[in-house]
């Protein structure tokens, strides 16, 4: 029974991982550029939710879309101001561009918000459910379900709408898309916005049941890499499955081996997959 409990809480966390990793995989698939600051975007969203609640007394119904909007703008700005330019440069510039951004965000947060952990009150959304002996906190349930729904929604928008087709067309072949009258630059900016907005929602959701600190983004970035890598680069459904899987693996290893080693298991798995199948478990390219 405890094992089932662990698996369920792993799945709920995994759904949130899947959400922000979908954003990373979208960006990646679009332009073959990694956002090394992805986890730090999540961190910013967590603080955005925290301050929206403590300073403006806004509830989750407001701060979740609010964080998404703020991060969307940040994503577009980062694309226009930085990524668009470094993407044409040498590999070193591509890597250092967003990596430097990660450092700036992380330590600016450190400087502005101090190293102290903060958290939103536990009872922000209801208490704890008891479903057939499984105890699930309402905030985690809400987070998991909402994340799952939005990830699926993202997949549907990408595959079923004209806009999604345009985005995927640019991802597939930039020049061919241009010949079809699609503006790649605009689509890529949009992808960065949507990718960052996914971290906005995810961060606001995590903030409801997880501590918030300036350096939390570092391990979240790595988790996003792992998920994207496992799920195949550019694949939202892949990220969904891999995100849920990583959530469960993390929860199980924390339970079976010890919480300190949960990251060790995930990172080791990551390296193993990179070494054995550099294209990802479900990827093709």
């Amino acid at each position: 029974m405890i094992l089932l409990q662990v698996v369920v809480s792993g799945l709920l966390m995994g759904a949130v991982y899947a959400l922000f990793s979908s954003g990373l995989t979208l960006i990646w698939g679009m332009m073959n550029v990694v956002n090394f600051a992805h986890g730090d975007f999540v961190m910013l969203a967590m603080y955005a939710a925290f301050f929206a609640f403590t300073l403006l007394h806004l509830g989750p119904a407001f701060f979740i879309p609010g964080a998404a909007a703020v991060l969307f703008v940040l994503g577009v700005v980062v694309y226009l101001g930085l990524v668009r330019h470094v993407a044409r440069g040498p590999m070193l510039a591509q890597i250092l561009g967003t990596f430097g951004l990660a450092l700036v965000l992380r330590y600016a947060a450190f400087w502005a918000f101090t190293a102290n952990f903060v958290s939103l009150p536990d009872n922000l959304v209801g208490g704890t459910f008891d479903i057939g002996g499984l105890r699930i906190e309402a905030s985690r349930l809400l987070g998991g379900v909402l994340a799952l729904a939005i990830t699926l929604g993202m997949h549907l928008v990408l595959t079923r709408t004209m806009l999604g087709s345009r985005i995927l067309a640019v991802a597939e072949d930039r020049n061919a898309a241009m010949l079809m009258g699609i503006r790649p630059d605009r689509m890529q900016a949009l992808a960065w916005g949507v990718g960052a907005a996914s971290t906005g929602v995810a961060g606001a959701l995590i903030a409801m049941f997880f501590y918030i600190s300036p350096t939390v983004g570092e391990s979240l970035s790595l988790i996003a890499f792992v998920v994207v890598c496992l799920g195949g680069f550019g694949s939202v459904p892949g990220a969904l499955v891999a995100g849920l899987g990583i959530g469960v693996i993390e929860a199980l290893s924390a339970y079976l081996i010890g919480a300190v080693y949960q990251d060790v298991v995930v990172y080791a798995l990551f390296l193993l997959v990179l070494w054995v199948r550099p294209q990802g478990l479900m990827g093709t390219a």
Binding site: N32, V33, V34, F36, L82, H85, V86, G89, P90, M91, L92, A93, Q94, I95, L96, G97, F99, G100, L101, A102, L103, V104, L105, R106, Y107, A108, F110, W111, E218, S219, L222, F225, V226, C229, V260, Y261, D263, V264, Y267, A268, F270, L271, L274, W275, P278
Partner: protein, 319 residues
């Protein structure tokens, strides 16, 4: 190289630095610049010349630092005697971790190195023999001269300078040899290099082994001077970041780029630390991050590239 007189002048100035000032802060600054130049020059072999951007070089730095102190705490060796052991450990790690990782290109390689370094940091932070989260201390009082424990930073300055000169000499030789051209080809692109008949994986490995050995030596030299190590100060991601940014600022893949980067960045870092006190580290890394972003955005070639374009323009004007 028409710039030899300039280079010679630079090294004479560096050698004379501790004699020009009595201020311990400034003398220590000189030693720290040289140490940063050593580790960034070591990173430069794989990250610059071969173009494989490792953000996990703290693993090798940590190997040297920990080898030196664990052999002291367990067997009573003077810390510097652990340096060769650390270099061997680092090279073994490089061979084991590097070989599979080298099949990855570009971003994938960088991500793998970050994950490997984080893995190492967490494992060491939970490893009793290595002092776990608390870390390890060197000899509190020097037992003999071999402990290389001096109050003045000046002896370290010359020790580090000697190592740097050896490393840059080796790099210069490498740059002019077959290996230098192979690495330049690899930097330009794996596939193109392979199609030209360059044994890509083998030469990446050679570059990494050399790079790991000297990064490890830098770790040993660091603990010889500082006498203390913990998981964050030896294996934290910022250790790796510092090597990358020092090299990238000066000019990655150039002989003197890392040294130039160190001369610019280390005084900046020490000054912000001194000005902002304990909270300075945070501010330092905001500045670091901003510099990285600016380099990436405007001058991926670093200061060396800037210098080249200025001299070219001057030559053109003279002609």
């Amino acid at each position: 190289m028409k710039q030899w007189p300039l280079v010679l002048l630079g090294f004479v100035a560096i050698a004379a630095w501790p004699l020009l000032t009595d201020d311990v802060f400034l003398q220590r600054l000189g030693a720290l610049v040289l140490l940063a130049a050593i580790s960034a020059s070591a990173w430069n072999l794989i990250g610059g010349y071969a173009g494989q951007v490792s953000i996990g070089h703290s693993v090798y730095f940590g190997a040297g630092a920990y080898a030196s102190l664990v052999l002291y705490t367990q067997l009573g060796w003077p810390p510097i005697a652990g340096a060769p052991v650390g270099m061997l450990v680092a090279m073994a790690l490089a061979a084991v971790v590097g070989t599979p990782t080298f099949r990855l290109r570009g971003h994938y390689f960088s991500m793998a190195t970050i994950a490997a370094a984080e893995l190492a940091r967490i494992l060491v932070a939970n490893w009793k023999l290595l002092g776990a989260a608390v870390g390890l201390m060197g000899p509190p009082v020097p037992r003999s001269v071999v402990d290389l424990s001096f109050i003045s930073p000046v002896p370290y300055h010359y020790l580090f300078l000697a190592v740097l000169v050896v490393l840059l000499g080796l790099t210069w030789q490498m740059q002019r040899s077959r290996m230098g051209y192979y690495l330049a080809a690899i930097r330009g692109g794996d596939r193109a290099a392979r199609s030209l008949g360059v044994p890509v994986l083998r030469y990446k490995l050679y570059a990494l082994l050399l790079s790991a050995a000297f990064t490890s030596l830098a770790g040993s030299l660091y603990v010889v001077m500082v006498g203390f190590i913990d998981p964050d100060s030896a294996l934290g991601i910022l250790i790796s970041v510092k090597m990358v940014i020092v090299a990238a600022l000066g000019g990655s893949g150039t002989l003197f780029g890392p040294l130039i980067g160190a001369i610019i960045l280390v005084p900046l870092e020490e000054t912000t630390n001194a000005v902002f006190g304990g909270s300075g580290t945070g501010v330092t890394y905001i500045v670091y991050g901003a510099i990285i972003v600016l380099i990436a955005r405007f001058r991926p070639g670093g200061v060396a590239d800037l210098w080249r374009s200025i001299t070219v323009r001057m030559a053109r004007r003279a002609a």
